[in-house]
Symmetry: C2
């Protein structure tokens, strides 16, 4: 078993991905929000790259909700922003949400040549890692790719810490696993800040950007571990519960 980590979606190489199961992480906040929405009963999430594409889908099916952000903020005319806290049961139960976010959507699309694509976040990492390990053993898959969305096509610390948590969960079960250098570094970084990721993230770029925009509650939410049980998969262009 090999674990290969990519620091942002533009780094992804199809030759590594194509035989792998991929975990896509946009911790702050796209994948955390999508997972929380599904966990709260949303039927599915359709990630799209452009605002115009989202609006087109709404014209085709009025019942869908539009969600997402640009620059961290809600898009004009959309039903929901990109804060997980907006995706309450009463708002989204039974609904399909069309979402567009800056990095998360692109990372999911970029990962689409993987055999299967899962959404990763601290909020459901344990269940997701357990499911992936079970399935990789069953189907004899020998590579897990961790695709961090990154921010503005750069290495992003919060995604890397979450990648390190996944590495930690995987190596517990696969002690002989091969880790590439970024998986190794992610794991070291995760272990160092395991008990308080805020300690290092308070110096990081995107975390501070969201803090300045007033999303402190989101930061707390997205950094809490394993209070969500559902595993989310991106298949046929839709995110759904496994």
């Amino acid at each position: 078993m090999k674990i290969i980590t990519f620091s942002h979606y533009k780094e992804v190489t199809d030759d590594v991905l194509k035989d792998s199961y991929a975990v896509v992480i946009d911790l702050l906040r796209a994948t955390s929000t999508m997972i929380w929405a599904i966990s709260n009963g949303a039927k599915g999430i359709i990630p799209v790259e452009d605002i115009s594409e989202a609006r087109l889908l709404k014209r085709l099916d009025e019942s869908v909700l539009l969600g997402g952000e640009r620059g961290g903020l809600k898009i004009e005319g959309f039903d929901l922003d990109n804060s997980p806290l907006s995706y309450k049961k009463e708002a989204i139960f039974g609904k399909t949400v069309v979402m567009t976010t800056t990095n998360g959507t692109r990372a999911l699309k970029k990962a689409s040549c993987a055999k299967r694509i899962f959404l990763g976040s601290f909020i459901n990492a344990k269940k997701t890692a357990e499911y992936i390990m079970k399935e990789t053993l069953h189907y004899n898959i020998d590579t897990i790719s961790i695709v961090c969305a990154g921010t503005e096509e750069k290495f992003t610390l919060e995604d890397i810490l979450c990648a390190g948590y996944f590495v930690d969960l995987f190596i517990e079960n696969f002690p002989d696993v091969f880790l590439d250098d970024l998986s190794l570094a992610s794991h070291v970084l995760y272990k160092k800040f395991e008990n308080d990721p805020h300690e290092i993230l308070k110096y990081s770029y995107h975390y501070n950007h969201l803090k300045k925009l007033g999303f402190e509650a989101d930061l707390e939410f997205c950094l809490r571990k394993d209070f969500v049980d559902c595993v989310c998969e991106f298949r046929n262009l839709v995110v759904e519960k496994v």
Copy 2:
């Protein structure tokens, strides 16, 4: 003052680099070897991308030495490989060396839009950082770019640890410096393995590759800190002593 780190040469963005002073790091082994060669009296190093280009320069000027590697090993017909230990005073004093290496040469070329380009390694980091800090203050430069060469266009742990050492030296003098996420992560990783980088590098890809090829002495050499005083700059396509 800002410090921006790139994990490999393909990540480099010209808009960040163009107003910055850059440090290029290919710790194992290109920049370490070039620095050691200059420190041992080589007149200059001309880094070239292709073997054929190196051979052409030798045809034009028979007095140059050819050095470099492919797959870590000496190139057929070349005078020197890429091991710093081959660049002894008696072999290279007063000579110009044309060198081609897989990642280091490309990183130097890729960094060439920076205002000035320095070579970085553990072996001379302190003197190099001191010189860069003095010059950036004098010329009012507000960005230092750290360009890791990486391996096969991927994040490479030994370059990142060395980047973290440079960050450590810079923040000692510029306590209010802005660090991007990768500079921050590099610094954390460096501090954790400051006293024994082998502890983590023994699990890393390129370090192990060189170990298997029998270059253990090179690994020891390149990870020793600050026994070289000279500062090396890449300008007009040649690496020379500042």
